[in-house]
Amino acid sequence: MSTPPLSPARTVATAARVLRQLRNDPRTIALLLLVPCLLLLLLRYVFDGSPQTFDDIGASLLGIFPLITMFLVTSIATLRERTSGTLERLLAMPLGKADFIAGYALAFGTLAVVQSLLTTGLAVWGLGLDVTGSPWLLLLVALLDAILGTALGLFVSAFAASEFQAVQFMPAVIFPQLLLCGLFTPRDQMQPVLEAVSDVLPMSYAVDGMNEVQQHAGVTGDFVRDVLVMVGCALLVLAVGAATLRRRTA
């Protein structure tokens, strides 16, 4: 009778439910999938005179979009579960915390794959982004980014009492990473303290990974390191996020 730590059937049911919720909300899906494409398009023509700059920034952005969008969507979605009472109800039913979290990661991971296929496809084939390595590796990094975004979103939703607060976590959690990830200036040219800080922020590895694929033909040692760091970060944050799901509340 007791619940196993992770039930595949309940996890898949949860993922299917999250996707069904999104399907009933076509506008959100359209925003999720089209806005990153439009931003890439915009960027391509902002740097119309210097395609080299587009190559540098474009690849990094392919890694940043899924992280930001999945962070926002997950933090709002799980905040809603907390405030509407559905989370309390589910945890009073035979649903494991791991089922809940893995279900969300699976659902938004699926969505991230679609989003990344569109953005990567558009950037590489439509906008002439120059990628030396395989586009599949770009996709892998994008997927890991999405899961990382989901994990971070889940985690911060525990500290937000309202949707207003939840969206404010985006500048608090994402913007510093955006500034320090090497998108604006190479990380080794930053003030040493900031460089050290950027070494422990997961988005730095997302951008590094993307740049490795963009500049090198094969799978480099640095790329493997970047992927492993991101997997480790995502698992760590998901585990911490699980700790914020409480069956007993005051």
């Binding site: 309940r10 919720q21 009933n24 509407s84 309390e88 069956r247 005051a250």
Partner: protein, 265 residues
Amino acid sequence: MMNKEPGPAIRATGLTAVRGPRTVLRDLDFTVPAGRVTGLLGPSGCGKSTLMRAVMGTQAKVAGDLRVLGLPAGHPSLRARIGYVTQAPAVFADLTVRQNLEYFAAVLDPGRRAAARREENVTRAIRDVDLTSHADALAAHLSGGQRSRVSLAVALLGSPELLVLDEPTVGLDPVLRRDLWDLFHALAADRGAGLLISSHVMDEAERCHGLLLMREGEILAQDSPDDLRARTGADTVEAAFLTLIDQAAEAATAATRSHSQETSR
């Protein structure tokens, strides 16, 4: 239907709960029998919801002994055996009625092999709460009363041995209210389920087998409606409740008076 010894569905001894700086439940002793409908009545804010959350094991800072279906409250194996409806409808607004129930059914009874049984359960639960004609409407588009019925339908999925319902009939029209009470009685009689139903509407008390009257975190009386009226000489449960409150207040003032007399002496 029950082949086990029909012990009480809930037995509480010295149940105390603290919420923030406030003691919300003070040293309560009560039982909720199986196969009966027990009403939990009292004004809003008296601790009814906290008591129910304690029974479900979702309330933090609970002390005392609380046994639910023979197990300590919140025991993992109880999760599939209790149906719980919170006051605010805990359903997904962006899913249809049927999609909501399909998901909760999959959590209760997962796996592909159970699909046919789930389908049956979902259809029955929707029929029980009279929402068949709205099965494919988004919960967000339903009225408040309809949404709370979706929430109730979730609790009816599976075959819960205990139903804990926090004000399930608030804002419903009289016909539907009568139908739901008939359903509650049928669940108790046919399936032997225990039901704990809270309400602040006193006329619903008459429909219960037993009553727990609550006020300010304490249980004033624990009796059947008939015995309660007979004991207080009142015509209605509401009048009986008022009599009990007055008696309690008198006893309290008498106690303080004798106490102050003693100290002044």
